[in-house]
């Protein structure tokens, strides 16, 4: 890629907006998942008794929490994909057209 094209794209306000927004959003999603997952693993490791409390008949607190972690992975992917395929792709399109 030619050096002038690179510097032109890098100074494009749309590009600056895209990298700031997508960067922050992507890291938020990734770090949220790490925090949720390791919070669960640490609970399993150190607060076993709390997770073994029966909340509904024989069903323990571990069940809803475990399913919630599983579900959160799916939801986090979904949230990212919706925003990336809409807002971020629109911005990318503008940048690419301007760079032509």
């Amino acid at each position: 890629m030619a050096a002038d094209l690179v510097s032109r794209v890098k100074t494009d306000p749309n590009f600056i907006e895209l990298e700031a927004k997508r960067g922050a959003f992507g890291w938020t999603i990734a770090i949220s998942m790490v925090v949720i997952y390791f919070a669960f693993i640490f609970m399993v490791a150190f607060f076993k008794d709390a997770l073994s409390v029966q909340v509904y008949g024989v069903i323990t607190l571990a069940f809803p929490l475990g399913i919630l972690v599983l579900f959160s992975a799916f939801v986090l992917v979904g949230i990212y994909v919706v925003r990336a395929n809409g807002e971020f792709d629109d911005l990318t399109k503008k940048i690419v057209e301007k760079a032509r």
Binding site: M1, A3, L5, V6, S7, V9, K10, F15, L18, E19, R22, F25, G26, W27, I29, A30, S32, M33, V34, I36, Y37, F38, F40, I41, V44, A45, F46, K48, L51, S52, Q54, Y56, G57, V58, I59, T60, A62, F63, G66, I67, V69, L70, F71, A73, F74, L76, V77, G78, Y80, V81, A84, N85, D89, T92, I95, V96, A99
Partner: protein, 553 residues
């Protein structure tokens, strides 16, 4: 996710002899031949071979071979990725784990799903925009080609080799058990079919085999769960109450249990599963089979949905087995009271319990199909590393026409297939439980750090990446060999040299530190070129400007 069983076994060998010690698939006896299972499996083979023939007529260039010409849709690719994850071992192994340990089985399922948000939010975009056929295209983008391609090829081949051996050994034992075929013939059948799919049909055939199998597995498992729930009149609480009543563990079956006796081991395994997912070569390769980044992201969304749903099914199947299989003397050995056929059979017997011999035959055939699809994907990833990264990029410096490159990959496929059969036979009686855990640890300690740092950290240089990557790979490998899982269980020594069987907690940070240290202290000429290349790579990785588009062949 294939040979999840192996990961599970690795863990249990270190924290308690609860499962898989001696009564895993290693201790199988030949089952009487099931005609329903065999006819359903033959139907699967005939259909997939017809698809392979069709795919072969459409596979003309290297890009067709590696990426199906970029013409797979997001939904199809999502199913194929899910198929890569849903192996026979994860289907039989997770449900068996739930059946014997209750809630703890879910902890593993969770570990296998949480890597996806990381992959989609940090990697998917950049992979698509920088790469063409393999993830090595991405990590060698601004660096010296030879060392980085070699690193990626080593990372790929080591991961593929361990995965493949674990699969082949598991496959032979499972097929011997389910179909009454001798181990050695089982290996040859699996190996020959896999070579046919990959060599003639390339990524197109491999993807469709994976899609068909994913649909069969999801529908078979769904049907089983439905029948279990019908049995309990959709009374979920009644279902679990019955499980607690009949389980020898009683209420403890609902509690998180002993598997976390050692927090270091647990966290280390968690790291390997979470970050290893983002470094598995055969999964990363699937990103290039769709036409653009939008479809790539969609495919991860679908895959996460399918895999998450599948894990919930295996959870219900496991508890179903507690209530309907372990309570039925027909499925238990009259003398030992252990499950007939070994610890991995709960799902197979549950199919018989709720759906009779037709459903059982169907589920057994699906398990066989699953093995085939999974080993095909692995073989293709291994063949690409040799033909694209080593042959075309390192030996020929990119000066090779697509036709020759494709021929090289076909010959490589043949060799990998033959090696897989040979290794499968050689390792028949070996304990291969540590291999999948090791494959994930290596993916998390070598492929993942380099992939991440090369796109987000401008100061990474050829020297830092190469040293960091190899240090991660070798550390994961060495610590595993010295650990209880290999040093004691496989090699028969009395005491392990290193106490933990899961190395990722140590090897992954070490890889990052080495990348950082050997980059910032790098004052070579090549280092300057590496830093200068970042801006252009950055712009392309964010926007795709300059990329030919993976579908534009």
């Amino acid at each position: 996710m294939r040979s999840l069983l192996a990961v599970i076994a690795t863990l249990f060998l270190t924290v308690g002899p609860a499962f898989a010690e001696g009564e895993g698939i290693a201790a199988t006896t030949k089952q009487t031949t099931n005609p329903i299972a065999i006819s359903m499996f033959v139907a699967f083979v005939v259909i997939t071979l017809i698809i392979t023939y069709w795919a072969a007529t459409r596979t003309r260039s290297a890009s067709d071979f590696y990426t199906a010409g970029g013409g797979i849709s997001g939904f199809q690719n999502g199913l194929a990725i899910a198929g890569d994850y849903m192996s026979a071992a994860s289907f039989l192994g997770i449900s068996a784990l739930v059946a014997t340990n209750g809630f703890d089985g879910l902890i593993y399922s969770i570990g296998f799903l949480v890597g996806w948000p990381i992959l989609v939010s940090l990697m998917a975009e950049r992979l698509r925009n920088l790469g063409r056929f393999t993830f090595a295209d991405v990590i060698s983008y601004r660096f010296a080609q030879t060392p980085l391609r070699l690193l990626a090829a080593c990372g790929t081949l080591v991961v593929v080799a361990f995965y493949l051996i674990a699969q082949m050994v598991g496959a032979g034992q499972l097929i011997k058990l389910l179909f009454g075929i001798d181990y050695i013939y089982a290996e040859i059948i699996v190996g020959v079919l896999m070579i046919c799919y990959v060599m003639f049909g390339g990524m197109l055939a491999t993807t469709w085999v994976q899609i068909i199998k994913a649909c069969l597995l999801l529908s078979g498992a769904s049907l089983m769960c439905l029948l279990v729930l019908i049995h309990f009149n959709f009374d979920i609480l009644g279902f679990f109450t019955e499980a607690v009543r009949v389980s020898p563990k009683h209420q403890a079956v609902m509690n998180p249990g002993g598997f976390v006796a050692n927090p270091v081991e647990t966290i280390s395994l968690g790291i390997a599963l979470m970050f290893g997912t983002a470094g598995l070569p055969h999964i990363l390769m699937r990103f290039f089979t769709v036409s653009n980044a939008k479809e790539a992201r969609k495919s991860i969304f679908y895959a996460t949905g399918f895999v998450g749903y599948f894990y919930i099914l295996t959870f219900i199947i496991g508890f179903g087995a507690i209530t309907l299989v372990y309570t039925n003397p027909d499925y238990l050995d009259p003398v030992t009271k252990a499950l007939k056929g070994g610890a991995n059979m709960p799902a197979i017997w549950l199919a018989d319990a709720v759906g009779g011999s037709y459903l059982q035959g169907f589920i057994a055939a699906v398990a066989f199909a699953t093995i085939l699809a999974v080993v095909s994907g692995l073989t293709l990833a291994g063949a690409s590393a040799i033909s694209h990264d080593i042959y075309a990029s390192v030996l020929r410096h990119g000066n090779v026409d697509q036709k020759t490159e494709m021929q090289v990959s076909k010959v490589t496929t043949l060799f990998i297939g033959a090696a897989a059969i040979g290794l499968g036979i050689a390792f028949e009686t070996q304990n291969v439980a540590f291999m999948v855990g090791l494959a994930f640890a290596i993916a998390a300690s070598s492929n993942f750090p380099i992939l991440l740092l090369s796109v987000i950290w401008p100061k990474l240089t050829t020297r830092g990446a190469t040293i960091g990557g190899f240090v991660g790979l070798l550390t994961a490998l060495t610590l595993t060999i010295l650990s209880p899982a290999v040093w004691v269980v496989v090699l028969g020594n009395k005491a392990p040299v290193w106490p933990y069987s899961n190395p990722a907690l140590f090897s992954m940070p070490l890889a990052f530190v080495c990348c950082w240290f050997f980059s910032i202290t790098d004052s070579s000429k090549r280092g300057v070129i590496d830093l200068d290349g970042f801006d252009a790579q950055y712009v392309r990785s964010q926007t795709g400007i300059g990329a030919a588009g993976a579908s534009g062949h």
